[in-house]
Symmetry: C2
């Protein structure tokens, strides 16, 4: 990503020569946000290829939580900093006009949209008031550049179910994104058992959450088959 | 708060002379976290007085989201930075052993526990592995100082319903904290209508969320009467 031209070529090689069904991007590139102009061709290419981008958070312990401290303690940078950075990146992409340029681009956010479903009220009535909280001229102009309310763009992302068994959070994500925009994922093998734990917990949460059989089938399988264009694999014909 | 001795005296004056039923603290004091040793007597005093602390987030636009930038854009510092800072503060208080020292202390977190309910899986199986992600000796030692799993302490906080109408997030908060630890709150008057909007939206969400009448009564009124010790006010006798 620090060489966008090379990344473009690698996208094409991965898809055309290696059969990749999408690419992963981290939420920052050596401290640069993904709405920086040099990354626009990468998003355009994935929209053109009609394949998804997986958005994965990245933040080190050196990103301090308090102005008076040199680093983050007690894994706060991981537990909350990762979902925070995913959410910040989603906001930056929204306000850059990405989804006005590429309304069909699929970006799969880790951990079910990070903070967005639970903060749906802040993203809704809160960001509708962008420009009223600071005198930054960029903030003032941002809403005027978009065709829709900010929250309508946040709903254009996809989420995965990697919430480590938090069934009530999965219900919140389902209510926010809808069943067509959620894909099954577990974060295996990063559980205390080094693999099986999060798979088991996520399947249990899938069964416990309030959802129809049709919604579960989309999340387990149907959405991945559609987004990754897996025609010809297994029982999808 | 920058003069803890004076803050202690003000707590006593507010409660004894003015009839206050609790105090508010912000999530940082000029960039210092609330687990700093000089604030311990304040938490001890509120535990002794058996009245709650309202925890309110505070973060300015100058707190940048990316290492390569000087400030936060598009109200990200507000939309996501405030819940992030509430969550970071909750973690700091948990790992300081606050609830081992004061198991009955009531801390009411704004916006329904901020990121904690949605991130219940990260707080659970994730923070159970504290010490495995860095070589910081403080992180390594933190779990050993606590009597319970981290998540069990996070469940000792209280949350308010100021989620601006996100009924599915309220259900997630209810599943995490339970009906005895949630209090009705709206964030009035900070909606686009300058008052009525968030009240109306929150009441609608209270009615729409999956909860029993008994749970709703606790959230609307019963928990506040108990925590604020409002015996003799209105219909509680």
């Amino acid at each position: 990503m620090n060489n966008p031209d090379a990344a473009l070529r690698e996208i094409d090689r991965a898809i055309d020569d290696l059969g990749a069904t999408g690419v992963q991007m981290y939420t920052n590139v050596a401290g640069r946000p993904l709405d920086a102009p040099e990354y626009r061709p990468l998003f355009a290419r994935m929209a053109e290829r009609r394949l998804p981008i997986w958005l994965h958070p990245a933040r080190p312990p050196s990103f301090a939580d308090y102005a008076g401290e040199p680093r983050s303690k007690f894994d706060i940078w991981w537990a909350f900093g990762w979902p925070y950075e995913t959410s910040a990146t989603m906001a930056r992409l929204v306000f850059s006009g990405l989804f006005d340029r590429h309304p069909d681009l699929a970006i799969i956010t880790h951990h079910m949209g990070a903070m967005i479903p639970f903060c749906a009220g802040r993203v809704g009535g809160g960001l509708d008031q962008l420009g009223s909280r600071t005198d930054d001229p960029d903030d003032m102009a941002a809403l005027g550049r978009l065709r829709k309310r900010p929250i309508d763009y946040f709903k254009m992302f996809y989420g995965d179910t990697a919430l480590f068994g938090a069934w009530h959070a999965m219900e919140s994500g389902l209510a926010f994104f809808g069943a067509d925009r959620i894909l099954f994922g577990t974060d295996m093998p990063f559980d205390p058992e080094k693999g099986n734990g999060f798979i088991r917990d996520t399947i249990e949460a899938m069964q416990k959450m309030r959802a129809t059989d049709d919604e579960r089938a989309k999340i387990y399988e149907g959405n991945a088959r559609r987004l990754l264009r897996l025609q010809g694999f297994g029982r999808a014909s």
